[in-house]
């Protein structure tokens, strides 16, 4: 990761606004009073110990998890229990999962064209062209006719990224995209994500890849026990963490 860090523009238009959001699993209070404003073009890395609610936070943004209190606005659309609103937001917000969640019964190309054809009502041919464009971008156009089960983990995750991009989303969410991968494959996925960031995509990544955070993030958020403990620019965050909890966490993950 020796590439020189490009200067990326962050606009002052709001992409996601989360106000006083609270969430419980049963009686367990998972997310406590979350306030977060994400601007268009931001690359945010969310880190923190396991069970701190970071995955739950980003899964609330596209309503994979329901929040009980507070207000989430994505791209001007208020996230309520109205299914039409939820589907509209989901088609604007791409998501990559730790375990890829590709559809094993469909070929790579069909995985990529399914949502554009059925949700966006794009003609099949056009959807296939778009899909091939994004598969080339993640550098696996030659796998288009294979099935997910025939690909390596890194390739599957890149297909998952391409599949999300085919919906032309304005925001991408990454939920620990490299946690299930071998070290050799992590780099190929991170390279794809870096490229995406450099094109100005608004991204929120839950990840433990601190090198990635340093290189592309413009903001790092540290969560613990369901709340945002600290957020800062990466330089300041890594070199000069303010809270004790952050210092302890960083010393543990960077200490070896």
């Amino acid at each position: 990761m020796a590439k020189a860090k490009k200067k990326l523009v962050v606009s002052d238009k709001v992409a996601i606004q989360i106000e006083n959001m609270n969430k419980w699993y049963g009686s367990f209070h998972v997310l406590k009073d979350i306030n977060l404003t994400v601007y268009q073009g931001e690359r945010i890395v969310v880190c923190g110990p396991s069970g701190s609610g970071k995955s739950t936070l980003i899964r609330c943004i596209n309503a994979l998890e329901e929040h009980q209190q507070g207000k989430i606005t994505v791209d001007g659309t208020h996230l309520s229990s109205d299914l039409k609103n939820i589907d509209a937001i989901r088609s604007e917000v791409g998501m990559c999962f730790q375990h890829f969640n590709l559809f094993p019964h469909l070929s790579i190309l069909d995985n990529c064209t399914l949502a554009p054809i059925w949700v966006r009502k794009i003609p099949k041919k056009e959807a296939e062209e778009t899909a091939m464009h994004f598969l080339e971008k993640v550098k696996i156009p030659e796998q288009a006719d294979k099935f997910p089960g025939q690909l390596s983990g890194g390739q599957q995750q890149r297909v998952a990224i391409a599949r999300s991009l085919c919906m032309q989303p304005r925001i991408m969410l990454f939920d620990e995209p490299t946690s299930a991968l071998d070290p050799e494959m992590i780099k190929e996925v991170l390279d794809t994500m870096i490229e995406l960031a450099e094109e100005g995509m608004t991204m929120i990544c839950v990840t433990h890849e601190m090198g990635f955070a340093r290189q592309v993030a413009n903001r790092v958020i540290f969560m613990d026990a369901g709340q945002i403990v600290e957020q800062n620019e990466p330089e300041a965050f890594f070199n000069n963490p303010q809270s004790e909890r952050t210092q302890l966490f960083l010393s543990q993950i960077l200490g070896h």
Binding site: L64, V93, F97, N101, F103, P104, H105, V119, R163
Partner: protein
């Protein structure tokens, strides 16, 4: 300590596996005589096979095909193969073959079930095998009405009016689902279709028949029998129980409490009751609930009961498939913005059904074999017919030949289904 450092300068090439000694001797040694217990078992098994075949084969082939009664058959075998020879009287099959196939269907109209049977393969081919032109599916959709008309005969306007009910329902669905939700659309579909059938279809068919008389000779259900009856009940049950089972399985997982309670109640009730009691309900009790004078076809009642019974099992089989799907598949579909029906149809169901194929086909096979139970309520399926044939003076005493023949025919159907399911599993295999 010795120096353990080592550096490989050249990566090794892949080599072919060692050629093992092939041939029959090697195969025998590996598979039958690898050690003493295995050898003993093999010899015992060979002896058992010989013992059974040495009786069954002569019985099967030292047989008579053309006798008119059991006595005539026995003496023909004695004359041909010597006194005391025990041989099969296949004559009974020869003599009653058409009856075993068609029951008491009028002889001059045999071509109708035959045409329906042959067309059935044309209708199911595009469903079973891809690579056939998609347009064939249109024929598949018309086929049930065509087959109904061919088998039962009567005015062609009646099946056409039944189709009209579906068309009307589809129109109602289109209008309502655009105005309100797709759930209300489905309710509108069902209401429009059923109301049309109950109140207008009969009258309209009669009116059209009097204007343009288009009909073939009607055959009453009481003339149906033999394998024709088994296949009719089996095929209708199979092709309806799968879609109904899917709906019930989805309903059971629904968030809507009433839908869920209805589905669970239905499934648990039907599964908790033996099929035979449902058939008795169909043959006797159901008439008490009908207005006096209504003639509700017995075969239709039986088909409804068999279908409901199979649907309840099918629902549970499919629920197993749904439960086996990882949660990530639902989330993957949701995160792309697919709505419930899209993700169910495109992502969830194809995978759940694929997982359930072996169980679905088991269920189909079970249903097809269960059609023989209708003999108990007096329908003349092959089993019912054989009781009749054996009660006949000429064939009194024939057991093995009749039931053996019926068993073989059932086995051919069931084995084909089982083979097809294995082919389907291989075809849908997409991972490594």
């Amino acid at each position: 300590m010795k120096n353990v450092s080592y550096v490989r300068t050249e990566m090794l090439q892949e080599k072919a596996p060692p050629v093992s000694q092939a041939g029959i001797i090697k195969w025998l040694r590996d598979n039958m005589f690898s050690n003493i217990p295995n050898s003993v078992m093999s010899i015992a098994a060979l002896w058992a096979i010989y013992y059974v075949l040495s009786d069954v084969l002569p019985w099967t082939f030292q047989s008579s095909w053309n006798a008119k009664s059991l006595g005539e058959c026995r003496s023909a075998i004695a004359a041909a193969y010597g006194e005391g020879t025990s041989g099969a009287c296949w004559s009974v099959i020869h003599d009653r073959f058409l009856q075993l196939i068609f029951g008491f269907y009028p002889k001059e109209l045999y071509w109708r079930p035959v045409v329906a049977f042959v067309l059935m393969f044309v209708a199911i081919a595009p469903v079973l095998f891809d690579g056939l032109p998609k347009k064939m599916l249109r024929f598949t959709m018309i086929y049930p009405f065509l087959a109904f008309w061919l088998l039962w005969g009567g005015s062609i306007w009646f099946p056409l009016m039944i189709i009209a009910g579906f068309v009307l329902g589809a129109m109602a669905f289109n209008v309502v689902s655009k105005m309100a939700s797709s759930l209300l659309g489905i309710i509108a579909f069902a209401l429009a279709t059923v109301l049309w059938w109950l109140f207008f279809a009969g009258g309209a068919a009669g009116a059209l028949q009097s204007i343009v008389p288009l009909s073939i000779e009607a055959v009453p259900s009481s003339n149906f029998g033999g394998f024709m009856l088994s296949i009719t009940i089996g095929i209708i049950g199979i092709s309806l129980s799968l879609p109904i089972g899917i709906v019930l399985a989805l309903g059971r997982q629904s968030d809507l409490l009433i839908v869920k309670v209805i589905c669970v109640g239905f499934i648990e009730f039907i599964r908790g009751v033996p099929l035979i009691t449902l058939l008795f309900v169909a043959s006797t009790l159901l008439n008490y609930f009908m207005p006096p004078g209504t003639n509700f076809d017995l075969i239709l009642r039986v088909i409804i009961m068999v279908t409901l019974f199979a649907s309840a099992y099918m629902a549970e089989v499919i629920r197993g498939g749904l439960a086996a799907l990882p949660k990530g598949q639902y989330e993957g579909a949701d995160s792309l913005g697919l709505d419930f029906w899209q993700s169910t149809r495109l992502i969830i169901m194809p995978q759940a059904l694929k997982i359930s194929i072996p169980n679905i086909v088991s269920s189909f096979i079970g249903l097809f074999k269960d059609t023989t139970l209708v003999s108990i309520i007096g329908l003349l399926d092959p089993i019912g017919l054989s009781t009749n044939i054996r009660a006949n003076q000429e064939w009194n005493g024939v057991i093995w030949e009749l039931y053996g023949f019926i068993a073989i025919v059932f086995w051919i159907f069931c084995f084909s289904m089982s083979r097809y399911s294995m082919y389907l599993e291989r075809k849908l295999q997409t991972g490594h």
